[in-house]
């Protein structure tokens, strides 16, 4: 089976001179649940954003479905982004609109410029969005404004928005960093089981090593912008963890 995602010698230096990534290589196969660990500022967020081109890499290649996204045109990038759902640490929902609309926003990449700009979503999309919300246990919240929801509920809406894209890959950037332990577990369970059931490949950035070990099929440790570990969760020893988290 060919890899869904291949990252080759990826480097990123921001315009202010900070080097976030200095040569990252790895492949991700279909169906994997990869957790990326590393201390704050190690380059995890930049790495995820280079995959869907929210951040333009300085050097290297990102092959998604055998297409090099770093050389893609802007319309190709949009097509690529709609195949890749993204979940954020601070949820990043549109706070002033309803939960349903937030989920429907996941369809924008499939719509023409005019209907998308005006937010004229099709009946089929609406029905599908409601189905997704039901699956995440949010059927009571459909018409509430997004900012009325609790943190855990907002993150479930975030997952629902990603799912409505019908993605091949989900990128989750610290999805549980602003949630309490119990809610965190429920979010991780949702994310894990949905990716399993729908066969979606998932890459999650996490702080917590124990959570990573619990869900990951594979763990990648990032230290100072390079891959310090890449292997099965049971191969991750105390020593390696210390190396990854040392300053």
């Amino acid at each position: 089976m060919s890899a869904l995602l291949e990252i080759r010698n990826l480097k990123k230096t921001y315009t202010d001179g900070t080097t976030a990534l200095q040569g990252v290589d790895f492949k991700v196969n279909r169906g994997e649940f990869v957790v990326i660990i590393g201390s704050s500022g190690a380059g995890k967020s930049t790495l995820l954003r280079c995959i869907n081109q929210l951040v333009q890499p300085s050097e290297g290649a990102v092959l998604f479905n055998n297409v090099d996204t770093t050389k893609a045109s802007s319309s190709q990038v949009r097509k690529l982004r709609r195949e890749v759902g993204m979940i954020f640490q601070s949820f990043n929902l549109i706070e002033r609109v309803s939960v349903l609309r937030n989920v429907l926003n996941g369809r924008l990449g499939y719509m023409n410029p005019i209907t998308g700009t005006l937010g004229l979503f099709s009946k089929r999309d609406v029905a599908e969005a409601k189905k997704i919300l039901l699956r995440l246990g949010l059927n009571q919240q459909i018409y509430k404004r997004a900012d009325e929801l609790s943190g855990g509920q907002q993150q479930r809406v975030g997952i629902a928005r990603a799912l409505s894209q019908q993605p091949m890959l989900i990128l989750a950037d610290e999805p549980i960093a602003s949630l309490d332990p119990l809610t965190s577990e429920s979010i991780m369970n949702h994310l894990h089981s949905i990716c399993r059931e729908d066969g979606i490949t998932c890459i999650v950035n996490l702080h917590q090593v124990d959570v990573a070990k619990k869900y990951a099929t594979r763990i990648i440790g990032i230290h100072k912008g390079t891959v310090a570990f890449d292997g099965r969760p049971d191969e991750l020893s105390e020593e390696i963890i210390q190396h990854i988290y040392q300053k």
Binding site: R78, L80, N92, R96, G109, Y110, G116, L118, Q165
Partner: protein, 262 residues
């Protein structure tokens, strides 16, 4: 240490005295130059008192019929200027805000343009426009549109610069195009401020429209000016009462609308 502290305190005190003395000196100088004095103020005060109570009052309510037209003109001018100004400013604001501007160059040009529009007073615009369009409501309307664009572009741009970019990033990540991002991520955050500022501008327009009416911009201001020239003070006082009523009514309505929407 103690000495140093005392020294500093003394310096502070001296500075405070110097500033106070400077203000006092400037006040005296200005009042001498302009011939201002309190006795003059009281003399004028009694004159104003006489003028208001014997010439202006009572208002001549039989003239209401003549003034309804101009009063409606004032409202029309202000409202049209607000609507047209708001939509033109919204477009310009997207080019003027750092968060949404397509290029730095366009941003600077739009900002400079709106600054010129804003910093030339409405009254001056009206005087200039009277030469081009002659007396009438067109002048008032255009003058108000120009200053509306000046103020609102800046206000809207500031709202746009304060939006949460996380929400914008999330919508971009779904594969949305530039216009889709504007429609679905920027607009929902922009709307409350947009409505608030537009309503406030409507209030300002109503107030300003009476002033520009006096230089030929039509509406109640024009009626007031005409009345003063013809010594029909009791009609003028009625017009002034109507201005006050319109201003109060707009304030009341806009505050109700604002409560509803925001």
């Amino acid at each position: 240490m103690e000495d140093r502290l005392k020294e500093l305190q003394r310096q502070k005190k001296l500075q405070a005295w110097l500033v106070a003395a400077a203000i006092a000196a400037f006040t005296v100088w200005s009042s001498v130059e302009t011939g201002f004095s309190f006795s003059e103020l009281f003399k004028g005060g009694s004159e104003i008192f006489r003028f208001i109570f014997f010439d202006f009052l009572p208002p001549d309510f039989s003239k209401v019929k003549n003034l309804i037209g101009p009063a409606l003109d004032t409202i029309y001018i202000s409202f049209v200027a607000m609507i047209v100004g708001a939509f033109m400013s919204m477009v310009l604001a997207f080019f003027a805000a750092t968060t949404t501007a397509p290029s730095k160059m366009i941003q600077v040009v739009v900002r400079a343009f709106s600054s010129v529009m804003r910093n030339i007073p409405t009254l001056i615009w009206a005087i200039l426009l009277v030469f081009a369009y002659g007396l009438g409501t067109t002048v008032g309307c255009i003058a108000l549109i120009i200053t509306s664009i000046g103020t609102l572009t800046r206000a809207y741009a500031e709202i746009l610069e304060e939006i949460d970019m996380g929400q914008v990033e999330a919508i971009r990540a779904t594969g949305a195009s530039y216009s889709q991002v504007l429609g679905q991520a920027v607009m929902p955050q922009f709307m409350p401020g947009f409505i608030g500022w537009s309503l406030y501008k409507l209030e300002l327009n109503i107030r300003a429209s009476t002033i520009i009416g006096m230089v030929g911009g039509g509406g109640l201001g024009y009626a007031i000016q005409k009345g003063i020239k013809l010594f029909q003070y009791q009609e003028v006082s009625l017009a002034i009462i109507m201005v006050i009523l319109i201003v109060l009514m707009t304030e009341w309505t806009t505050s109700k609308v604002r409560e509803r929407i925001i």
